[in-house]
């Protein structure tokens, strides 16, 4: 389903991704962990082409982009629509209500009819537990609520893969649970997900696979129980010791 080959990303002198190869099967939940600066967020942003990789290729379903040659600007937006992105800082549109945030993509990008989109958006917001907050502006919502709107906004585009970039890192501790619950529900429905997070409990409970990244490489990957109880690589052990 997702096939990443030889992915490199360089910012001027700094090489953040030094050759990532990764295959993800449909319906799997992959959690990416690792110290800051390890390249995990950059990997996620490359999948959404918010960063243009320096070289390598990314394939999602039957579409692929090869960054070793220059990629045409026209090819990027349709490729982006295969993935939905959830940001650490939510990035909701502050001038739109929760409902309008969710409706924006389908209306502006997919040119769907307003009535149909409204219905779908209401369903999505109800699904993330915000059916009673449709007409609230982002500033009237808590962080956890905003992030759930962010998830609904991404889902409204019907992506094949959902990408979560530290979705709970900016939240007060008591609001983390409500966001993780929505994510778990999504996972149980069979959504393919790649999640960058520091929530090890979520990784244990919801992940099919855990990937440990460090220094721009995938150091180790495996089932969550294996990674968390018997990591093979020294760096993985060190990292897990530090966060526990």
């Amino acid at each position: 389903m997702i096939s990443i080959k030889g992915l490199h990303k360089r910012f001027d002198q700094l090489e953040v991704l030094k050759g990532i190869d990764l295959e993800v099967e449909k319906g799997k939940v992959v959690v990416v962990i690792g110290p800051s600066g390890s390249g995990k967020t950059t990997l996620l942003r490359c999948l959404n082409v918010l960063e243009t990789p320096t070289s390598g290729s990314i394939g999602i379903e039957d579409q692929s982009l090869d960054f070793s040659s220059s990629v045409s600007k026209k090819a990027v937006p349709p490729f982006r629509r295969l993935t939905g992105m959830v940001f650490q800082s939510y990035n909701l549109f502050p001038h739109m209500t929760a409902l309008e945030n969710v409706m924006e993509g389908p209306i502006t990008v997919k040119k769907e009819s307003k009535e149909a989109v409204r219905k779908k958006a209401e369903q999505l917001l109800t699904k993330v537990g915000l059916g009673d907050k449709l007409d609230y502006y982002p500033f009237q919502l808590s962080g956890g609520q905003q992030q759930r709107v962010g998830i609904a906004r991404a889902l409204a585009m019907e992506p094949k893969v959902m990408l979560f970039d530290e979705p709970t890192s900016a939240l007060d501790p008591e609001l983390v649970g409500e966001v993780l619950k929505v994510m778990k529900d999504l996972a149980n429905e069979g959504m393919t997900m790649i999640v960058v997070t520091h929530e090890m409990r979520f990784a244990r409970e919801a992940a099919d696979e855990v990937i440990f990244m460090d220094g721009g490489f995938i150091v180790e990957r495996g089932k969550p129980e294996d990674i968390f109880t018997s990591p093979k690589e020294e760096r993985t052990k060190q990292f897990l010791r530090l966060i526990q």
């Binding site: 990035n91 502006t108 990008v109 906004r153």
Partner: protein, 234 residues
């Protein structure tokens, strides 16, 4: 009014003459405002804003030649007096065969001026919108123009409303310079009336008062607009 004037001017005949002139000149002055000052302001502001958005986008684009053209334009307009610009268009261009009527000359001159000044306001406003807003737009599949139009400009317009209102109010008053290129707007009419009766102080005070009233009304509208646009921020 009459009593007030009587107290500072001893000659009662002069007082009634002044009041007569003030009253009879009010209609032509307002006519100048309605036929020229206000339309000139509105037309130029709209043209100038369009020019300003385009210039701002050119300045923040990654295309070097566009950036340079925008920079030169802004620098040239901001670095030369508005009156000189108007004279170049109206009195200068005819010497190379380009003859433009007074009103369109004024529209061109003021639009170029508003475009240059407002472009800096709009550029700053666009840059003040967090990068995450662009990314959020892109992440749901929007193109650059779609993100700009739907996400960035609505937020940037809120940020730029107070400084743009300033530009607008300045423009109302600056249109009096069009008198110098024969546009029969309000100030020119005041000059013409004063030239026949020599009551310069009266006429110029009267015209100043009308400008003040117009600008006062505008600042009330600005306040309302700001309140409306602030509905989505705490």
């Amino acid at each position: 009014m009459k009593m007030f004037l009587n107290s500072i001017i001893a000659d009662p005949e002069r007082v009634s003459r002044l009041i007569d002139i003030a009253q009879s000149s009010l209609q032509p002055l307002l006519k100048g405002a309605i036929l020229y000052t206000i339309p000139l302001t509105l037309i130029t502001f709209v043209c100038g804003l369009i020019l300003a958005v385009l210039t701002a986008l050119a300045r923040i684009s990654s295309v070097k030649p566009l950036q340079i053209i925008a920079r030169i334009y802004v620098s040239a307009i901001r670095g030369t007096p508005l009156l000189v610009q108007l004279f170049i268009i109206f009195y200068g261009l005819p010497t190379i065969g380009v003859v433009i009527d007074p009103f369109p000359s004024a529209v061109i001159g003021f639009s170029l001026n508003v475009g240059a000044y407002a472009s800096e306001i709009i550029r700053a406003a666009i840059l003040s919108i967090p990068k995450g807003q662009w990314e959020a737009g892109y992440s749901i599949g929007m193109s650059y123009p779609q993100t700009l139009k739907r996400i960035i400009l609505p937020q940037a317009s809120r940020v730029s409303l107070p400084p743009l209102s300033n530009t607008f109010i300045s423009l109302v008053k600056d249109t009096s310079l069009a008198a110098m290129i024969l546009v029969t707007e309000m100030f020119r009419r005041a000059q013409e009336i004063a030239a026949t009766n020599y009551e310069f102080l009266l006429l110029y005070l009267e015209v100043a008062l009308i400008y003040w009233v117009i600008c006062f009304i505008l600042s009330i509208i600005q306040g309302r607009l700001e309140k409306r646009m602030d509905r989505f921020v705490s």
